[in-house]
């Protein structure tokens, strides 16, 4: 009995020994930054020096129109881009799953490729295409679809469209892969039964495919939401530092610029990060509540 207890203790100790490296790494790279951010957030930081300002960073944030409009942009991209992308990914997944017999692998690769391409490289090409006198405008002008060149990078509203298109281009294929996997787990007999009952393809899509894919859609929407809240690359490179004139500034980019570019104000940057994390958390929670219950039933 006694021997068994000491063996248990040994096992216990051995277990702790085994997880020790990851505990240490977690402590150093996760716990310590989170705890120290509590200190940062109450201070106005300027390079090596800092002063205590209590909740001053949050008051400043509430009055900072650049931050508020960046937050607004995040919401806009979220509300417009995520539904667009999820719907597109779904349609593409269904087409790839049923509609196409040949070259399936090639199509799947072509659609997935943007997700693994470096945006830095691609944006150079995009910028050339999207200039006022760029190829896209020239093609549209020649086809008489527009009469004035569009300021894809230069006009505040169109630059937002550019960002949404670029994000959709980049992430549709990525989400489509999840939907493809989800589609393959749907029993084909359900479709056969629907076919017998005379349901059209469109009807099948909306009343069979979408309801049965709700868990996958939920996953896709939640990850895309947090991805959009952290949107950084596209506005930083494609529309150049959130341009034109901050029209595509996002919170992540503004945080980065406050910390590493404009002010070296790590306190203010940390405070803004807190707000963004809080908002992302609320969104994830709300989405799980809204869609999650239906997904489980």
């Amino acid at each position: 009995m006694k021997q068994k207890a000491s063996f248990q203790r040994y096992l216990n100790r051995f277990g702790w020994f085994c997880v020790l490296p990851s505990v240490i790494l977690f402590g150093v790279f996760m716990l310590y930054p989170i705890l120290s951010s509590l200190y940062y957030v109450t201070r106005r930081w300027k390079g090596m020096s800092n002063t205590f300002i209590g909740l001053g960073n949050f008051i400043r944030m509430a009055q900072d129109k650049v931050f508020l409009s960046a937050l607004g942009n995040n919401f806009l991209f979220m509300v417009v881009q995520i539904p667009l992308m999820v719907f597109l990914a779904l349609v593409l997944a269904v087409i790839l799953n049923q509609g196409i017999r040949r070259w399936k692998g090639a199509f799947r690769l072509a659609i997935f490729l943007p997700a693994v391409t470096s945006l830095v490289v691609v944006s150079v090409l995009f910028r050339v295409l999207l200039q006022e006198n760029g190829m896209l405008n020239n093609v549209l002008l020649k086809a008489h679809l527009i009469t004035q060149p569009i300021g894809w990078l230069n006009d505040a509203a169109w630059a937002k469209v550019t960002i949404i298109l670029a994000m959709t281009w980049r992430w549709t294929g990525y989400n489509m892969v999840f939907f493809l996997v989800g589609l393959q787990s749907i029993d084909p007999q359900i479709y056969e039964a629907a076919e017998v009952d005379g349901a059209s393809k469109t009807r099948q899509f909306f009343t069979i495919t979408i309801p049965l894919l709700i868990p996958v859609i939920l996953f896709s929407v939640v990850t895309s939401t947090s991805g959009t809240m952290q949107l950084f690359d596209e506005p930083n490179i494609l529309t150049w530092q959130g341009g034109p004139a901050n029209a595509t500034m996002t919170t992540a980019l503004y945080i980065y610029r406050q910390a590493f570019f404009i002010n070296a104000d790590f306190g203010y940057a940390t405070a803004m990060s807190y707000v963004v994390v809080l908002i992302s958390g609320i969104f994830a929670f709300a989405q799980m509540r809204l869609l999650g219950d239906r997904g489980n039933s």
Partner: protein, 435 residues
């Protein structure tokens, strides 16, 4: 059993080999000392430093210098390093003149005082030394000048029936330039100037040529000056008359210049490299002095854009060597060093601000690549002497961004008047800096 033993032997063998390799590495006595340099632009800064190192290595053959091209976010990387007490930083880094004051004020002990190391600053152009001076300490070695001029395509001028020779070497006013631009546009359809619409540089060139300042002496914003208002009005006029060919982004701007989209541009001497990179440009460009805004006292036919300087980090483990490299090549007037300055001017269009170097041969020579073999370097050097000094302050970047944003919105009609544009810039500046 046998297999286990084999595996064990193999393991030991691999370990022994690795250890051997490691020890042979560590066992080597350290004969060379290595200096690391961060900068950007392989054809300009990197090239110049490489040439400087070649000169240095003649006298110090054992020294190795590693020059790293930090094209993306060099400042962000340096801020991370400084924040970490110098971890991961190089020995020497290049800073844009307009950026350094922010670093000197945020990280006061991060850089080596080179005046204390015996550098003679009377031999450098004074406008370069100003931004790197805090109290009695001077922190950098000035590198290149950003002396500006109006670059014009003589072939389009001729096409529009204008004789380029009538303009060659002349000091123009902006109203004369606008008249010229309208003529060229009417005949050839080419807008006068390629303009990067998300960029502040051209506005800065114009404001600096008036002798205007973006900041008051106490460091607060100074946008309500007559010089600034006149400059903004001029830009609006250029824009409204269709004399600006607008692109977004730096590389696209370079691309626009090298694809015959405009009849010219307004920028600094360091554009020589980009213009020469396209053989078809040969014989076409001439460079006039920066145009003058009328009615502003203190305005000159000269301005500046860009320019950088070298700095040594206090955290450097090879500080003495790094300082010696900068001091003995960049700041000492030996025949070898003067030849070095002479060479980088010819090859890269990198005009140093080390005054003794300005009597070297390439500073006077004509350049056959330009219209009528214009002595480009000589002209830029002579304009450099008249450049009104611009105060940067640690808050130059947020000011630059706020003004650029307001200007764009003013151009696009989202801000109706100059006063509104100025107010918008002031508001954004205040919010971004939290002041």
């Amino acid at each position: 059993m046998k297999r286990t033993r084999f595996a064990a032997i193999a393991m030991i063998a691999i370990m022994a080999l690795t250890l051997g390799a490691l020890s042979s590495c560590g066992g080597q006595p350290k004969m060379t000392d290595t200096v690391t340099v961060w900068c950007w632009d392989p054809n300009f800064n990197l090239y110049a430093m490489k040439e400087a190192v070649a000169v240095y290595q003649k006298a110090n053959p054992g020294v190795k210098v590693e020059i790293v091209d930090m094209a993306q976010d060099i400042e962000a990387k340096i801020i991370s390093g400084l924040q970490a007490g110098g971890a991961g930083l190089p020995d020497i880094a290049l800073f844009q003149d307009f950026r350094i004051e922010q670093f000197l004020s945020d990280y006061p002990d991060a850089f080596v005082d080179l005046k204390a190391e015996g550098v003679d600053y009377s031999q450098f152009a004074p406008y370069k030394v100003g931004p790197m001076t805090v109290g009695g300490k001077v922190y950098g070695i000035p590198f290149d000048t950003g002396s500006t001029g109006l670059w014009l395509r003589t072939d389009y001028m001729k096409e529009a029936g204008i004789d380029p020779d009538a303009y060659l070497g002349k000091n123009l006013t902006w109203s004369e330039v606008i008249a010229l631009g309208e003529k060229i546009k009417a005949k050839t359809g080419k807008p006068l100037l390629a303009y990067q619409s998300d960029n502040f540089d051209m506005l800065r060139i114009v404001v600096q040529s008036t002798g205007g300042q973006f900041f008051k002496d106490d460091g607060s914003l100074n946008l309500r000056s007559e010089a600034f208002k006149k400059s903004l009005a001029l830009f609006k006029e250029l824009n409204d008359k269709g004399l600006l060919y607008q692109v977004v982004g730096w590389s696209d701007w370079i691309n626009a210049i090298n694809s015959d989209t405009s009849a010219g541009f307004l920028n600094a001497i360091w554009m020589v490299g980009s213009v020469k990179s396209r053989p078809e440009n040969a014989g076409k460009y001439m460079v006039l002095p920066t145009p003058l805004i009328e009615g502003v006292p203190g305005a000159a036919n000269a301005s500046n854009n860009g320019g950088s300087s070298w700095y040594v980090f206090s955290s450097s483990k090879n500080k003495a060597r790094a300082v010696d490299l900068l001091k003995s090549v960049w700041a000492t007037a030996t025949p070898d060093n003067l030849e070095f300055y002479n060479k980088i001017l010819k090859d890269a269009g990198a005009m140093g601000t080390f005054l003794p170097s300005q009597s070297s041969s390439n500073y006077k020579a004509g350049d056959d690549f330009f219209y009528k073999g214009q002595a480009l370097s000589k002209d830029f050097a002579s304009w450099m002497a008249n450049v009104p000094v611009l105060k940067y302050t640690p808050n130059y970047v947020p000011m630059r961004d706020a003004v650029a944003h307001a200007t764009l919105n003013y151009f696009q009609g989202k801000l109706a008047t100059i006063d509104e544009a100025i107010a918008a810039a002031e508001t954004e500046y205040k919010q971004v800096t939290g002041k």
